[in-house]
Amino acid sequence: MKQVGVLALQGDFAAHGAAIERAGARAVFVRDREQFAQIDGLVIPGGESTTMLKLLHYDNLMEPLAAFGREKPVFGTCAGAILIARNVFHPTQESLGLMDIGVERNAYGRQIDSRVVEIAVEPEFESRTAPGKLEAVFIRAPIIRRVGPSAHVLAEYRGDPVLVEEGRHLVATFHPELTSDPRVHALFLEKL
């Protein structure tokens, strides 16, 4: 069975672990660089991207994480998407640059602007997983403002990309781990 690491410094890593197991792989909570050798892919969960960045630096995990991403699939949701992006603004923040996308933080506003919505998905997403709309939970979510030429949009909300892949990597600005729909995690497992 494939082993999927979930970066467990802070945030909803437990929810991702459960979602990975529901989608049919084994979840491993990653806190040390030695663990990267044992996993086939990595999830960077939701949480606070500023906080995670500080914790990654404190544990000297930025470089091992970027190196892992140069070879293996990484999936980020919300804060994780911010860390994976090439450019981060509002305010400008350092990131891993694993995908050629530009992300604006807290772009919908504050917590009172958080929401749960049904979103349409691209037919390609449905054909690779299963048909049907996606329920998207947005919590103080970022907006993907720029998508590079080799990145690929799988779902949009109000005209903005919310589920994007580029090669082996995948990002969602919403939280599929907070719903019972396993399709987004299943899509990521296909990349392993």
């Binding site: 945030g11 949480g47 906080t51 404190y58 917590q111 958080s114 929401r115 939970v137 919590i139």
Partner: protein
Amino acid sequence: MFQFSSEQFRVKVGLAEMLKGGVIMDVTNADQAKIAEDAGASAVMALERVPADIRKEGGVARMANIAVIEKIMATVTIPVMAKARIGHFVEARILESLGVDYIDESEVLTPADEENHIDKGPFKVPFVCGARNLGEALRRIAEGAAMIRTKGEAGSGNIVEAVRHIRTIIKQMKQLTVLGKEEMVHQAKELQAPLELVEWVAEHGKLPVPNFSAGGIATPADAALVMQLGAEAVFVGSGIFKSSDPAARANAVVQAAKNYLDPEKLLAASRALGDAMPGLDISKLPESELLQTRGW
């Protein structure tokens, strides 16, 4: 009756999910908020005075000055919480209009209503409330709280009450899971909590909202202790900014919450810290000075 599946409730609980494994720090101004954010806090709690000062100075403790909260919100990008007095739904509406990310209906402030807590369900902003036992936690959830924290004894620098409260809540939940369905009505009566919520806990063995700990956490070891006992994140009030080196202590508590199961890393986090805040012996405090008995 309890709309766990409603969009609004899920969004409220969703933010609490994002704060798990982290540390929420009390701050009284923007400079402190910046120190907290730089140290790796996952959110800050804006208040007028930290609990240790409220305890010392007395008087009525209210919602923080709006200008101060606004400045904190403009200074950090992590979520900003603020405290409202128990039952003071107008303070809560004002904080909601201001756009704070979470409201703590807190026993640390002077209660505005000695019988009723705020009806939190209709608000768009989520609420966290303190609890000493499972019944109190479930009453707050029934009113719409989307996060529970232990009350502990705020401003005491003494972990004993937070330990008592988290142990009590966890033990009472475990007990429910082994009882029969026919025993639930009696349990609801004993706990003074709604039957539906008691049944939900009996089935799932946990609260329907995240369960954090607060009240007396002063050291990295304190934070790891309540996490090992079952708390999913911690609030640190006076413990940071009443210590001799707030930035170092803030960082150490963050590291402890993250590595709460790893003694080597806890040792590293506990090194090279200045003095912790002075602590109080709870048993020497007169009943009238306890903050945890506010609310019910």
